[in-house]
């Protein structure tokens, strides 16, 4: 790695200004989060007597315990639904993206536009037919019903995303693999997937976060058995109206997997992976 170029005086001043602005914004955005954290660590009694932003006088995990008891099953449901929905939507979207990016076939552009236009279907517009379909399939209030819904809803976006990632792979690389004797499926597994790990990681993070946080489908397609954590937390707001510490602790439980995911996957989100495979033009 080459070092950065030295900065001039004005540039340094500008940098200082940028950082000050960034700091102010950061404080602004983190304040509610700070409030949630402190409240979640207070006892139910303390919540009423102190300001939401003050540091707890006595740290307690009471709220977390109560929230977890309430959210245990929904959290597990969420985990299964999100893992399944992410896996299938990323896998199928990636295969579709590969076909659209690297192969030409009859009506390919028409089909692509049809698939991708589904991204612009408003969520609410498909709610009723979706509910009816899932119920007819006997999947109402099962994790499979939500996995199916999220997979179907995720495929267009994933197809668009993967097509653009895979479109950046020069055609000659795929052609070379063909001459080396490999069929499309083997090329997908041995060349395309390993060369675009960042794309997959990006897609997984994106899908995981959106399915995990999703509320509307979950409300409509589940009753009690398969209820995901977002719905359950929402219900808590109604039933445990006064216990702010438990509610905030519940939010923390819900935010935790996403946080962990970002921390683990973050290091893979580096650029420049494709560099060097083709002649610079």
């Amino acid at each position: 790695m080459a070092g950065a170029l030295p900065l001039s005086k004005t540039q340094k001043l500008l940098h200082a200004l940028y950082y000050m602005l960034l700091f102010i914004f950061a404080v602004f955005y983190l304040l509610p989060f700070w409030g949630a954290v402190t409240t979640s660590l207070k006892s139910s009694a303390e919540v009423f007597t102190t300001s939401p932003l003050s540091f707890p006088e006595k740290l307690t995990l009471e709220g977390y315990r109560a929230a977890f008891n309430h959210l245990k099953k929904p959290l597990l449901n969420s985990l299964i639904i999100t893992a399944g929905g992410t896996f299938f939507s990323v896998l199928l979207g990636s295969i579709c993206g590969y076909a659209f990016a690297q192969y030409r076939f009859k009506f390919d552009n028409v089909i692509f536009v049809l698939v991708v236009s589904a991204i612009f279907l408003p969520y609410q517009a498909i709610l009723v037919p979706l509910f009816q379909t899932i119920r007819r399939l006997g999947l109402y209030d099962t994790v499979w019903g939500l996995i199916l819904a999220h997979t179907a809803y995720g495929i267009p976006m994933m197809t668009l995303l993967f097509r653009s990632f895979y479109g950046d792979i020069p055609r000659c690389i795929v052609q070379q693999a063909m001459l080396d004797g490999y069929r499309p499926w083997a090329i997908y597994r041995r060349i395309i997937l390993p060369s675009t790990k960042i794309a997959t990681v990006t897609a997984v993070v994106f899908q995981f976060a959106s399915i995990w946080n999703e509320l509307l489908f979950s409300l409509v397609l589940t009753g009690y058995d398969a209820m995901p954590a977002t719905v359950s937390l929402n219900q808590m707001m109604g039933t445990l109206a006064a216990e702010w510490n438990v509610q905030m602790a519940g939010s923390m439980w819900l935010a935790l997997p996403i946080l962990v995911l970002y921390i683990i996957m973050g290091k893979y989100l580096i650029r420049g992976y494709m560099a060097g495979s083709v002649a610079a033009t």
Partner: protein, 368 residues
């Protein structure tokens, strides 16, 4: 038996507005080293892609060995995977996620070679190309010239029935290029594999080829041995493309004196071969003179062309002299031993049989 036969190959792009290949015909003999030579955009890569099966031509048929790989009616089409062709792409096309070793063994793995055999083949080709210390690197960690050698090595480890090499030496420095060129020719001789090699560098074409196919605008202009193209170019395009320094062209009016044609330009006249006297009398034509066909003579010599020396380029055992005669800039190549004869002014002569005569309008060669 020809190893590759191409008939009436046409590739049209942009709904027929661009003809990348225009009724291209070719037979490459078994074991031959065939070079496609031509300016940028003349359809060289397009022809290779058709042979490899990566591009379906608009019309035409191709046979490899005794197998039709694409028929005129397109009912027969052999997939690229089945053609057993090793190709080096102009853009290298290295697999970004694999190491150099992985890149080079990828095709062999598919053919169920044993681990030891793959290892042995990869190592021997890698050391020949001077990339053995790079085997565990990824393509992103290589320089352009190293990548190009990896791409070449990846083709050479295979046992194909046909090599297609698209400018495989374009990115190497002069010394390395010469060395790899020699190695390539040697391997090709040893393996006896039919090879089609694309370049726009005529020196490369001249040194490597058994046969050169000179192309322009998707058509074959002339094909033949390097000698054929050099000594008997069929038109001014071929004459100008092959040979370095570039051939000199002079537009002359022909007059016949005592049965001998004279090519007049300015106040000077070059005597031509008697065989052409009848055909050329009274016409105007283009005379091509190879720089090395100029002979230095004494400035007092009759019928010599006299010129003023502009620049002398010493090349070691040869010198290239740029001089003006009758307001025309000409180039001559002489032995360095003659350097003392090159002063401010020189006089040169040309053997009448070494002149290349072309029709002034069509540019086609005129032979006696």
């Amino acid at each position: 038996m020809p190893s590759v036969s191409i008939r009436n190959l046409t590739v049209a792009y942009n709904k027929g507005r661009t003809l990348a290949l225009d009724n291209f015909n070719l037979d490459v003999e078994d074991g031959e080293f065939c070079v496609f030579l031509g300016p940028s955009g003349c359809g060289k890569t397009t022809a290779l892609l058709c042979i490899a099966g990566l591009l379906v031509p608009t019309t035409g048929s191709i046979k490899i060995g005794d197998q039709v790989v694409i028929s005129e009616d397109k009912k027969t089409f052999v997939a690229p995977q089945e053609r057993n062709i090793a190709m080096v792409f102009q853009e290298y096309a290295l697999y970004p996620s694999m190491t150099v070793r992985g890149n080079m063994s990828f095709a062999l793995e598919n053919k169920k070679y044993s681990k030891e055999e793959i290892e042995r083949k990869v190592n021997s080709i890698a050391s020949m190309l001077g990339i053995e210390q790079l085997l565990d690197r990824k393509p992103a960690q290589l320089s352009g010239g190293q990548r190009q050698r990896v791409a070449l090595g990846r083709a050479l480890v295979r046992d194909p029935s046909l090599f297609l090499l698209d400018e495989p030496l374009g990115n190497l420095d002069a010394k390395l290029r010469e060395q790899v060129r020699f190695e390539l020719k040697r391997i090709q001789r040893r393996l006896g594999v039919t090879t089609i090699y694309v370049t726009h560098d005529q020196t490369e074409a001249m040194t490597l080829a058994d046969r050169i196919v000179l192309m322009r605008d998707g058509k074959v202009v002339q094909e033949g041995s390097p000698k054929d193209l050099y000594h008997k170019p069929i038109n001014t395009f071929v004459a100008g493309f092959v040979g370095t320094p570039r051939i000199n062209f002079l537009t002359c009016d022909v007059s016949v004196k005592e049965g001998r044609p004279y090519f007049a330009f300015g106040q000077s006249a070059l005597p031509g071969s008697q065989a052409l006297a009848v055909t050329l009398n009274g016409k105007s034509c283009v005379v091509g003179i190879r720089p090395s066909d100029f002979m230095l003579v004494d400035t007092t010599e009759p019928e010599a062309i006299k010129g003023k020396v502009e620049v002398v380029e010493p090349l070691g055992d040869e010198i290239v002299v740029h001089f003006t005669a009758e307001d025309q800039l000409l180039v001559g190549k002489f032995s360095a031993a003659d350097e003392e004869k090159v002063n401010e002014r020189i006089a040169v002569k040309v053997d009448p049989d070494k002149l290349h005569i072309f029709d002034a309008e069509t540019g086609d060669r005129i032979d006696g």
